[in-house]
Amino acid sequence: MSVRVGLVSFAHVHSPAYAGVLRDLAAADFVGITDEDTSRGAEAAQQFGVRFFDNADSMFEEIDAVVVCSENNNHARDVIPALQGGVHVLCEKPISTTVEDASAMIQASETSGSQLRTAFPVRYLPSVVRARELVRGGALGRVLALNGTNHGQIPGGWFLDPELAGGGAVMDHTVHLADLLRWMLDAEVKSVYAEVDSFFGAGGTDDAAILTLELEGGSFADGAFATIDPSWSRGEGYPTWGDVTLRISGTSGVLDVDPFAQPLRTFDHETGAPLWSYMGEDMNALMLADFLRGVAEDDPSGASGLDGLRTLEVVLAAYRSGEDHEPKRVEQTP
C-alpha cells in the first residue's frame, strides 16, 4: 500500500530533493505541500504536481506521514501539530535549536503514538552501512579514535540568521557526524571541546570549527575520542557540494569512510571549473523509503527524535565550549 505523504515548507535547501523523491517513490502517495510562504509553496506544488494547502492542519487531515523542512527554529511549531493530528513525522536536521523544543516534540510523539524521526540520511549510504557492520563485527578491534568531517559551502539565506538557524556551521553540520558516532558505536558523547570561529564569509555566524568529543559506553569504543570538522570551508570553486568523511582507527585496523569518493570528474571547456558528480545510491531516497516503510509497517526504527536531541546537545555543548575554551560535559536531557 502506498503511504499518503505531505511536505511542510520549502525553506530548506533539501526540500526540492525530498519532493522529487516523494513524487517518484512507488510507496508514496505524494498528496501535497504547505508553506507559510504561500507563493513559494504554491510554485513548488505546481512543479511537483501536487496540491498546495494554505493551512497545515487541513493537509494533516489527508495524510499519514509528513516531511518537515522549515527553518530549524520553526520545527517544533510545524512538527507538534502534525504528531498531535496522528501524522508520522520525518523532521529535517537539526531537530531544533533548543533542548526545550526537541523535548516537546519527543513528548508529543510519545503522547500521540505518532512516529518522530530525524532526517539523518548519511546512515543510509551503502559505505556507511557497511562501515557500521565492519566496526561492530570487530574488524578494527577496539575503536580508539574517530576523525570526521562534514564540509560544505556557505549556504546563505536563513542559514546565516542565528535566530532561525540557531547557529552556523556547527549547528548545521555537526549533527550528521555526531549521529554516526552514536549509531555506529552505541556510545554517548560525554564531553565536547570546540574551537569555533568565522573565516569564510558567513558574516556574524560561525562557519569554521573543530570539535573534540569524548565517548562513553558501548562495547566497541568506551573511552574513545573523536573530532568533527563541520566547517563551511568549501567555496564556489570547489568541484562538489562538500564532503562527509569518517576515519576510524582501532587496535587492529583503520577504516576510512568516504561515501562520495571516486566521483565522476567533469572538466568543462567553457567554465574551466572542474565538477565532481557522485554516482552512488541516493541517500535521500533510501531514507524516505525507510520512513514510509516504517509508517506502513508501524516500525519506528531509524533515527528517532531522541537521536536528534542527543546530537543537538552535542552542538549546544560545543557552542558553550567555543565561548570559554573549556571542555563541556554534555548534559543529557532525561
Partner: protein, 325 residues
C-alpha cells in the same frame, strides 16, 4: 666539509644516503654502539666505522657532527660537540624536555659552532609551496588547516620509541613535523587541546588528534598515528577565505614501483630528496654563515607545542602557550 655521523639507525641511514649526493661533504666516520650498524652505515658512504662518538672524534677530524641518536641522548652529545667547537646537525625533536632544549640552545648561542635541527618537512616541495602561497596571500585569511601524518611503528635501538616517556610518542617524534610547519606557516600558537593514547599503555601504538588555535585566529586539526598498519603517509589541507589547497601523499606519485614491499620514507620522485635538500642547506649555512630556513629556536618552539599537546592529552584540559621567550 668533514662529517661524523652518530647513530646509524633508521634516520642515520636516510642521512647517509643524502650525504652521498652532496659533493661538498665527506662523511669521514659513522659511529654506533651496534658494530654491525656502524659498519653497514660506513659502507654506504665509504667512511670508517666506530663504536662510539669518542672513538670517532679521536680518530677523525670531524667538523660537523650529525646526531641521529634517540632523543634522550641529544643533549649530552650536543653539549659535548659544542664544547669541542664542532657544528651539530640534530635530528628532530631537539630534545625530550624544554630544559634540555634550552641547555642545547645556550651551548650554541655564541659565535662559535652552530646548531641545525632536522625539521625536514620545510624542505618538502609541497609544504614549501603551501608556505609560499600563504605568504603570497593567495589563500586569503587562513581559517581551518587539517594535517595528518601516519607511520608504521619503528623498531629502534632498544625499542626506544615504544616508551613515550623516552621518545615523547607520536606527538614529539612524528607530529612535531606538523607543529613546526604550522608555526612556520601560520605564526605562534595560542592554545592547544589534544586527545591521545598517552597513559593508556597500548603496545607500539600511539594516536593523537590535536586542535591548535593560533594567535592569528586560524584553527588547525592535527592527526598523528604511530603503528599505522599501512605505508607511511601524510596529508594537509588549508582552507582560506579565498582558496582551498590540499595535498595528499597517498595519491599516485610521479614514479611508482609496485613490488609488494611498502616504502617507509616517501620518495617524491620530483628530484632531490627533501633530506638531501635539508642537509645541503645546513652545510651551505655553515659554509656561508647564512641563517637556516629552520633555526634552532624554531625547533624549541615546535617542542613547546608538542609538550603542550602532551600535557593536554594527560590532563584532558586545553593548554595555553604563554610567556614565549
Amino acid at each position: 666539509m668533514r662529517i661524523g655521523l652518530v647513530g646509524a639507525g633508521f634516520m642515520g641511514g636516510v642521512h647517509l644516503n643524502a650525504y652521498a649526493g652532496i659533493p661538498e661533504v665527506k662523511v669521514v666516520g659513522v659511529a654506533d654502539a651496534r658494530v654491525e650498524a656502524a659498519v653497514a652505515g660506513a659502507k654506504m658512504v665509504g667512511a670508517q666505522p666506530y663504536s662510539s662518538y669518542e672513538e670517532l672524534v679521536s680518530a677523525e677530524d670531524v667538523e660537523v657532527v650529525d646526531v641521529c641518536l634517540p632523543t634522550a641522548f641529544h643533549r649530552d652529545l650536543a653539549l659535548r660537540a659544542a664544547g669541542e667547537g664542532r657544528h651539530v646537525i640534530l635530528e628532530k625533536p631537539i630534545a625530550r624536555t624544554m630544559e634540555d632544549a634550552k641547555q642545547i640552545l645556550d651551548a650554541f648561542s655564541g659565535d662559535g659552532p652552530r646548531l641545525f635541527v632536522g625539521h625536514v618537512v620545510r624542505f618538502f616541495p609541497e609544504y614549501l609551496g603551501i608556505k609560499q602561497k600563504i605568504d603570497a596571500g593567495d589563500l586569503g585569511t587562513i581559517g581551518v588547516v587539517r594535517t595528518s601524518r601516519r607511520s608504521p611503528f619503528l623498531l629502534g635501538w632498544n625499542d626506544w620509541y615504544a616508551d613515550w616517556r623516552v621518545s615523547g610518542g607520536v606527538l614529539l617524534d612524528l607530529v612535531i613535523h606538523d607543529f613546526d610547519f604550522l608555526r612556520w606557516a601560520l605564526g605562534e600558537v595560542q592554545r592547544v587541546y589534544a586527545r591521545g593514547m598517552l597513559g593508556r599503555e597500548y603496545n607500539r601504538l600511539d594516536y593523537v588528534l590535536a586542535t591548535l588555535r593560533f594567535e592569528s585566529g586560524a584553527i588547525a586539526h592535527v592527526e598523528g598515528h604511530w603503528g599505522y598498519p599501512g605505508p607511511f603517509n601524510y596529508s594537509i589541507e588549508v582552507a582560506g577565505s579565498d582558496a582551498l589547497l590540499a595535498v595528499d601523499s597517498t595519491e599516485p606519485t610521479s614514479l611508482q614501483l609496485i613490488s609488494g614491499a611498502p616504502e617507509e620514507v616517501p620518495d617524491l620522485a620530483w628530484g632531490k630528496s627533501p633530506y638531501e635538500k635539508e642537509l645541503e642547506h645546513f652545510i651551505h649555512c655553515i659554509a656561508t654563515g647564512e641563517e637556516p630556513i629552520v633555526q634552532a629556536h624554531d625547533a624549541c618552539e615546535a617542542l613547546r607545542i608538542g609538550l603542550a599537546a602532551t600535557d593536554s592529552v594527560l590532563t584532558g584540559e586545553p593548554v595555553t602557550l604563554g610567556g614565549r621567550e
